[in-house]
Symmetry: C2
Subunit: 412 residues, 2 copies
């Protein structure tokens, strides 16, 4: 069977050059929009603040009335008004007058600055001002934070606490976001049993459909869990066709090597055109990783080893889900750390070494390789925080070298 | 009114010394457990793998039968069996025999190693082995990944893709997790209008109840959005009592300064015992931040300025929500960066400078201060990735100094 082996960079390029369309938009309550992706620029329909606003508690004054005021030589003004917060004051302050004002209240007509209450003393209507203010001091002018027509947030932004706060400031209680891509996830292998069922002799419990479904959620997709499919060509084909019909993307795991039971590449390729993008990547681990484009949908076939599957998901699949979901930026989070041991690369292959991060006595962030053993899947999964990438042309990373760790999860 | 001003460290200590009980546990489907917190140690009820397993495609053999095999001098064995994957083979392999086997299949009785298919040539039943193997080579022994009775994951772990994979490996389709804390969030201020309603003159739209509700979600809590309460003592008290009765924790914003409309500290203190923990923290920004313990529930009153409120949430409130939710580790994510400009501290106060992160030409991660202006709330919110902390006894951080940035969001 035809196999198409690419280098890691070629595989990434093949994916990044695909035209991937987002899946439409929907309007949802802003309070439910956490982690969703803004689908159109949020343009302010108002000036913010919508009026000149005091930024302190004190007295609104004409700045020039305070000139010369000092600690020992106060200027005296007459308190003629109180500005209520939340209302436009229907008064005009004249020369020599002041209006009591609180933080956030509108500046009345006739005045152009606010003296802080700490710099005043008041006896009935008589206000002693001990410090001069300049024009616009302690005043936030209408529209200075955001003016009408200004773009507050661009389409493609992930909505976190700050972004949702910004949209609330514009008066939005609903927001238009991209529809979340549905991603079908299935495991293959006649030796694999779904968790929750009794374990027959000679079988093991499935890991990948669970870990990869969760990884889909974490990447901003909606997983469609399809369980375990045995290594039978007809059954596999039927399940993949069902998945392609009902989801926007499909992820399988196992069955991608060169063994007699490794049906994935040929089965996937037979599903439609243009077919296989690659069926093998010069990486370690994860070499058999396969991707195909069927119509406008992608099928990724990841290795069976759970840690390798999750690593390949992170490096190749996650960016695609993020693009499908409309995210403007799709880079993975990474941190700089210090190699805690020498790490070797595999000849001619981009090598990823699973590491655990920890701080040493001097608070340096150390990347300690996680022993994965032959197939110590669970131990590796449970311990790795991320991976260190070693280029094809580099033999090893030395202990104490600075390395970049691509994070699988936020490191705390 | 009595105000209790603490240093930043004192405030953190006051909170960390509180005994906070988690809110019970519940059993949920493992596939829905993303970001939930494991409430009891996950102990394996089986050996993993549950049998000796081949880690390659090839032939199961007695290692000693292959001794001396070389490229030019193959050893010949007779292929007497095929091991099916997913079944315990009911055969015994005798001296001089080999059994065809695939990755993941159980090792039959009588053999102790697997020769990779790449190191063999086969003609009918005659197998030429071109490379010797040692005992246990390419075999993963029963229980080596995890043995029966071993703890796979400790209570208090956040469940991400890897952890959910580990639990699936144990055969769990459901998992016991801590109940998510309910956190009531309300804004105060007669000048504040809820987004989605028309904006009367002199008013502005609320930001904080939206940004803080989202921050609660992000921290692993369930927000209970209570909208905007005007600055009226009776109304405020009634709303807070309702919030305390229905939520596990309460967060308010604005109304905590020393102005005439700043009713929060005294109102909160009057709600019950033991009352105020602090009503002021020597930090900049965020000085008026107030916390009270009412019965066994906490009430946090954050400043009105949206960026300050979110900062104080991140530094003081988020760790408490994470403890309530049962998380074993509650540190915030931080990265090392290089100061992009000199940043000054406020005398005698722990200072936090909002920064935007970016990489310079030489790929260094730079922390650029975000101009917040007097109250440039929205601009600051939209731009800040995190904050740089400057201790009380340090006057400034210099350009090009290494700084630690506490992240508000994952930096990509």
């Amino acid at each position: 069977m035809f196999r198409k082996l690419l280098t890691f960079d070629e595989a990434k390029n093949a994916l990044s050059q695909l035209e991937l369309a987002t899946l439409g938009t929907e309007e949802i309550p802003l309070l439910e929009a956490y982690n969703r992706i803004l689908s159109e620029d949020a343009v302010s329909t108002l000036d913010i603040p919508p009026f000149n606003r005091s930024t302190v508690d004190g007295y609104a004054v004409k700045a020039e009335d305070t000139y010369g005021a000092e600690e020992n030589q106060p200027v005296h003004l007459m308190v003629s008004n109180v500005v209520n917060i939340g209302e436009i004051p229907n008064v005009k302050i004249e020369k020599g007058e002041a209006a009591e004002i609180v933080t956030g209240a509108p500046i009345p007509e006739g005045v152009d600055a606010v003296v802080m209450v700490e710099d005043t003393e008041r006896e009935n209507d008589d206000l002693s001002v001990f410090s001069s203010v300049t024009k616009n001091e302690n005043v936030m002018k209408k529209g200075t934070d955001l003016h009408k027509g200004e773009t507050a947030l661009k389409a493609g932004h992930v909505l976190g606490p700050s972004q949702i706060g910004v949209l609330a400031a514009l008066g939005m209680a609903k927001v238009k976001v991209f529809v979340v891509p549905k991603v079908a996830v299935l495991s293959t292998g006649s030796e694999v049993t779904e968790p929750g069922k009794p374990l027959p002799p000679g079988k093991i419990y499935d890991i990948n459909a669970y870990s990869l479904s969760t990884a889909v959620t974490e990447s901003g997709g909606e997983p469609m869990y399809m369980g375990v499919v045995p290594d039978e060509k007809a059954k596999l084909r039927e399940t993949l066709e069902h998945a392609l019909a009902n989801a926007d993307m499909v992820i399988t795991s196992a069955g991608v090597s060169v063994g007699p039971k490794d049906l994935l590449p040929q089965t996937v390729d037979s599903l439609g055109k243009p077919g296989l993008l690659f069926s093998g990547v010069a990486v370690k681990p994860g070499k058999p990783t396969t991707a195909a484009s069927i119509g406008k949908k992608l099928v990724f076939s990841l290795p069976g080893h759970p840690a390798s599957a999750l690593l390949m998901f992170h490096l190749l699949v996650r960016p695609v889900i993020q693009r499908l979901s409309g995210r403007a930026s799709v880079e993975s989070a990474s941190v700089k750390a210090v190699a805690g041991a020498r790490m070797f690369s595999a000849k001619g292959r981009r090598t990823f070494v699973m590491v655990k991060l920890k701080r040493d006595e001097s608070k340096r962030l150390m990347a300690e390789p996680v022993e994965s053993g032959a197939s110590g899947a669970i131990t590796t999964l449970a311990r790795a925080d991320g991976c260190v990438e070693i280029p094809e042309n580099q033999q090893f990373v030395d202990r104490d070298d600075e390395v970049t760790v691509v994070l699988f999860r936020s490191f705390e």
